[in-house]
Symmetry: C2
Subunit: 279 residues, 2 copies
């Protein structure tokens, strides 16, 4: 199978490395000639170019660009493709992308390989990035089965854990476990900074330890990623924030009313149920 | 100096190990005879007993019991002590404890060595538990200087970082960096469980990764600790929760109103400022 990859960053580059190791022929496209050269040198692509025509003869194309550029990229690709070519993406939100791109290309399959590191760019790419990570495929009722199967075949070859769900289910699930944590974790940092007594802020900075470090980590992450989550997963994120506020108010009321029994039960449930989310 | 320790758990046991290594003579008291035996066997005490009279001749006594038992323990100790004996505690909240115990004993110094592990009990005790951790001393205007100096001398011998502040400053600072995180992190777990679509809950459990793991960690911790924070640091925790809700509402409004510039600024501030709390 000939595989095309548009966007040779951490995800695109790692995909190239992994798939070439599995015997696929990989054609990479990047806007930067230097990235193309690095991809070839690193072994992340057999051929690389700044020109989308390189992908004319591929069987499946992974669009690994930033979310905002996925649909525009597919528009530019279309004139060069055979009708049976499958296009898939790796975007971290699915509803808006799948809606737009399914209209552009009938053989489009939305997907979200949930792998990553703190680093970005092709320099950080590695062949085992996807091993044992979730690979979420989000077809619609109209997505051709043959296209879904082609994406699954590649996801299997990457040794990922494949999940299939609707774009809406994906977006709500990742809102809960990924996008909501960024907002509530960031609000913790804001709250500590909002204290008006400078002696307390200074002391808080000195005393902050592993609890603060872990709880504030994703809130202190890359602002562009947080912005992207809010922009492209707005309805599911707002729904999560609303549910979250309700739960926070409940716990606040227990403390206000000294309802230690209810607080105790809630904390015990949290301890018991957390393990169901954490392997 | 002869040091007394009441309560030979993780903190009391580690204190005994560390101070004996520094040449202090350590007298330990536990309610459990088996804990006394373990303390002697482990080298956490020179002498150990279930009877508080063992501490009659000590120069300084560390009360390392659960918070609720600190003042009652001091009441029981008083009949056995010389007037110049210093009493200090290791409780993780200070206002209520310092208020009560200062009335009971003029030579009382509130303190909070901020060390710990996931484990508890004397089995987990270790001599270097306090090395390079904060040791917060919270005297009042009436605390004798000689008593403060005695506690500082021991805190220095443990190689801790000593901070001095009022009980109220301590309680607000730890509310921000330790107690608030437990409540907001726990509310994240509650929120994911509150989703009524079982397919989304199941998917969220499968997709949850390092972001969810870190943000939910302290919320899924020991329920008794969380309850203790709420009970004994209620005013400062409620103030933190109120400030937090305000900041969460602000970030929610930015998303509702698609005010990406304000959201972006907030996320960038969070990223820039977090490092001031994390070494």
């Amino acid at each position: 199978m000939r595989v095309g990859i548009v966007g040779l960053g951490l995800i695109g580059g790692s995909l190239g490395l992994a798939l070439r190791a599995k015997g696929f022929e990989v054609f990479g496209v990047s806007r930067q000639p230097s990235t193309c050269a690095t991809a070839i040198a690193k072994g992340a692509a057999d051929q690389a170019s700044t020109n989308l025509t390189l992908l004319a003869e591929t069987d499946i194309i992974f669009v690994c660009t930033p979310i905002a550029v996925i649909a525009p990229t597919i528009k530019q690709l279309i004139p060069h493709l055979k009708a049976k070519t499958v296009i898939t993406d790796v975007g971290s939100v699915k509803q808006s992308i799948v809606q737009d791109c399914s209209l552009l290309w009938h053989n489009f399959v939305g997907s979200h390989p949930m792998a990553g590191t703190e680093a970005s760019g092709i320099a950080a790419a590695k062949a085992d990035l996807f091993t044992a990570t979730p690979y979420v495929i989000t077809p619609t009722a109209d997505t051709p089965n043959s296209a879904i199967e082609k994406v699954k075949q590649i996801a299997r070859s990457l040794n990922t854990k494949i999940y299939t769900c609707t774009p809406a289910e994906h977006d709500q699930a990742v809102a809960f476990i990924s996008h909501l944590p960024v907002m509530l974790s960031g609000s913790l940092i804001q709250t500590c900074l909002a204290e008006t007594n400078p002696k307390i802020v200074k002391l808080a900075k000195k005393l902050a330890s592993s609890g603060f470090r872990d709880t504030s980590r994703v809130g202190g992450g890359n602002p562009e990623l947080g912005l992207m989550m809010a922009k492209y997963n707005r309805p599911a994120l707002l729904r999560s924030l609303s549910l979250y506020r309700h739960n926070l108010e409940k716990i606040t009321q227990y403390i206000e009313q000294a309802d230690w029994e209810s607080l105790s039960e809630t904390l015990a449930t949290n301890q018991a149920k957390r393990s169901e989310f954490i392997d």
